[in-house]
Subunit: 269 residues, 2 copies
């Protein structure tokens, strides 16, 4: 998907919401559990219910791989079901030496035709280049993640700057705002302003943002740029909002609440 | 697999060779290409031919994922075929927030019962912990990789030390030599001596070592500890040694050359 299309979809829907399909088979509603294709049934219902309120779906590959071959089948079926209007992300955190990363790019850009994949930066340029070679496909590199372990390495100082800042400034030279985004779990104004100083133009994929808690407001105010420039992901808060037969309606309700709040911030900007 | 079993297999076979099954469908011999189950046929022939000369097989997940569902089937079949005496590694370079890493651990320790998985350290402790919780399973964390991109971040200075040194010293505190190894692509005496200073007791998985070129000698001399402590991987050099109908015999010849050289170093130690 071209960046113009993504931005245009965001403006049309007044939403920069990404719904994370972290479909844990043990957490789907009891009436679906044990049915053949339960994961796909669940995902399709969630997609039908939320597609008007979001512009993107993110598949967390771990939850599918844990099911082995059946999980990969479910991943393929799910991606095939997502409308072309929606930006699809393989949240796969891959990255290896060049010829191996080329195979991962083939897996997630060709074999399963996602628009984007998340990639870990540790191994450097040749581990990321093969993903950037695809036209109209996106590489989303880990910058600052939102987990506790971010302090172990990402927030260690390399001279005057943090490792994650070095990653942002270095990796942003390898691609451009049309093929490269960054995962930034930052929710504080200071951190976001700093990230925007380093990478003013790249889209940010921001995970772990609760709605109505203030953090979506901060993220939107300090993370947005003139071309919107942010996708905010919510996974469990939406897909597991309900646990009964009306789970899809409950997911839609939460997705719509995100969308409504986002519409305000888009107008304000 | 317990560490004692691995060390005992190494001493019995006089080999610390790991054969990397980077089975690129475009590189397997022409007489197999296009056959149903070509990847599995190829892998089984390689395993039959090399199992007496190696103690471990490493599956590079990228080459299987590039084939989608059929690739995951081939990976499962291959792992099931590897003898119990051999240490199996999922070279998957995974790592994500805690609840997601738990799913990857399930995928590669339970759904497909590998002995070990390679993991990227960028996201810190909670991204690695879930793998360490399995008994008799191994987490192999990226330290210093052998690719050109290692200079971009791994070899950047955090204060007085390189990032990869910080990774070795920090991550080694989270596990112990019975559940934690490190990928170290170092082949120079100085680097290896330094790595052994930081992690004297952990096994090292060393990729990219050519035989008869001197580097296996250096790696063995400076990387080995009293409990052997190294696995040396060769992938393409062995599995694609031949491209004709006798590809398995040619792979065996190369594997045996590695083994013979390793036997000398084990005796010398």
């Amino acid at each position: 998907m071209h960046r113009n299309t993504l931005v245009s979809e965001i403006r049309k829907k007044q939403s920069y919401l990404c719904v994370g399909l972290d479909t844990d088979p043990e957490k789907i509603p009891p009436h679906l559990q044990g049915k053949p294709g339960a994961t796909v049934l669940f995902n399709k219902a969630i997609i039908d219910a939320t597609k008007d309120f979001c512009v993107s779906y993110k598949i967390n590959t771990a939850f599918y791989e844990a099911m082995g071959v059946a999980g990969w089948e479910a991943m393929e079926e799910t991606v095939a079901y997502i409308p072309d209007t929606h930006f699809t992300i393989a949240d796969a955190k891959r990255g290896d030496i060049g010829n191996t990363s080329s195979q991962y790019a083939k897996a997630f850009f060709e074999t399963i035709p996602f628009d984007a994949i998340t990639v870990a930066p540790y191994m450097g340029e040749d581990s990321i280049r093969p993903f950037l070679e695809y036209e109209n496909k996106w590489t989303i590199v880990l910058g600052l993640t939102s987990n506790k372990g971010a302090k172990d390495f990402e927030l260690q100082k390399l001279g005057e700057e943090f490792l994650y800042e070095k990653v942002l400034s270095t990796v942003s030279q390898w691609g451009n705002p049309d093929n490269l985004m960054f995962v930034t779990g930052a929710t504080q104004a200071g951190e976001l302003a700093n990230i925007r100083r380093i990478i003013p133009d790249n889209f940010l994929l921001v995970p772990g943002v609760g709605f109505q808690g203030g953090s979506l407001k901060e993220v939107s105010r300090y993370g947005m740029n003139d071309e919107v420039g942010i996708l905010v992901n919510a996974s469990r808060a939406i897909i597991f909002a309900g646990s009964g037969e009306n789970f899809a309606e409950e997911a839609a309700t939460i997705a719509q609440q995100y969308q409504a709040e986002m519409a305000n911030y888009l107008v304000a900007k």
